[in-house]
């Protein structure tokens, strides 16, 4: 991915927060907290990772850019909530874009290329309620210890 891809956008996608999905996600992240089993539960902190289920073929800003999956690592992830997290029943619109792209020399000689994928989530009123920021790393050699 070269730097000309910075700022590329996907098309917006729609996402409805569902009670069963919140329960499933809470259980998969080893939570027994009853706060995630209500009819109006807030979402768990990393729940928006599951937005993948609502994305379509055109949602990704990196569509059409060749990526070597065996060399890709998830280096970092951030979720930001502007107020209380979204709740069951909320209808969100997500919009993804490519943020910064940069390179760094790896500790064992190979080049590592970093890129950010930013997703903004707005509620039905159009207010920005949450953001997801993913830092992906593409390594030039087997990513044995570089990350998870």
């Amino acid at each position: 991915m070269d730097q000309s891809a910075e700022g590329r956008e996907g098309t917006p996608f729609e996402m409805t927060i569902e009670a069963g999905k919140v329960r499933e996600f809470a259980r998969a992240t080893k939570s027994t907290n009853p706060e995630y089993r209500q009819d109006d539960s807030v979402i768990p902190p990393t729940f928006l990772a599951a937005a993948a289920f609502w994305q379509t073929e055109t949602s990704s800003p990196s569509r059409g850019i060749p990526i070597n999956l065996e060399r890709m690592l998830h280096g970092g992830q951030e979720f930001i909530f502007h107020g209380e997290p979204p709740r069951v029943g909320d209808h969100l619109t997500g919009h993804m874009r490519i943020g910064k792209i940069w390179e760094k020399q790896g500790r064992r000689g190979g080049m590592m290329q970093f890129h950010e994928i930013i997703t903004e989530f707005k509620n039905a009123e159009g207010t920005l309620v949450a953001e997801s920021r993913t830092t992906a790393i593409e390594t030039s050699q087997a990513p044995e210890k570089a990350g998870a």
């Binding site: 999905k21 499933e24 996600f25 809470a26 259980r27 998969a28 992240t29 080893k30 939570s31 907290n33 706060e35 995630y36 539960s41 807030v42 768990p44 902190p45 990393t46 990772a49 599951a50 993948a52 289920f53 999956l69 065996e70 690592l73 998830h74 280096g75 970092g76 992830q77 951030e78 979720f79 930001i80 909530f81 502007h82 107020g83 209380e84 997290p85 830092t135 087997a142 044995e144 210890k145 990350g147 998870a148």
Partner: protein
């Protein structure tokens, strides 16, 4: 968690998880929609140069979220950031810890910044996390 009960330097109780299993990875992958076979398909992982499937980093980020929201309350989270270092593997026993690094006021709210880590049984750091929670007003 109430503002009166938390001060800078407050150490959260340590949580030691059960040994990681591929079943944990599969359950998380099904829930999140990230079906990357490197976390559950031994042949695929070996072909990519790994000895075995390794843990989904986002699972431990999620368990960190569980650890923190159990303490501060689910609706009180405002930010969670994680950065991964050493990979985690099936059988690993991970320890979750956190310390309150700052209490600050923003608008009418009291916020707590927390720095967290998830470490492996050999002491290696799997991930480092930074979170911000709103504290409830003292009664």
């Amino acid at each position: 968690m109430k503002a009166d009960d938390i001060t800078q330097g407050h150490v959260l109780p340590i949580f030691t998880d059960k040994p990681l299993s591929v079943t944990d990875f599969v359950r998380y992958q099904g829930a999140s929609g990230d079906m990357n076979p490197i976390h559950h398909d031994t042949l695929f992982a070996q072909a990519a140069g790994f000895p075995a499937p390794f843990a989904v980093g986002m699972l431990q980020a999620g368990v960190l979220g569980t650890y923190l929201t159990d303490f501060f309350g689910a609706a009180h989270i405002r930010r969670l950031k994680v950065q991964w270092s050493e990979q985690a593997w099936p059988g690993d026993v991970l320890e979750y810890s956190g310390v309150v690094t700052e209490i600050r006021r923003e608008a009418s709210e009291t916020l707590a910044d927390v720095t967290c880590s998830v470490t492996r049984q050999n002491g290696g750091v799997h991930l480092t996390g930074w979170a911000t929670f709103v504290l409830e007003r003292a009664a």
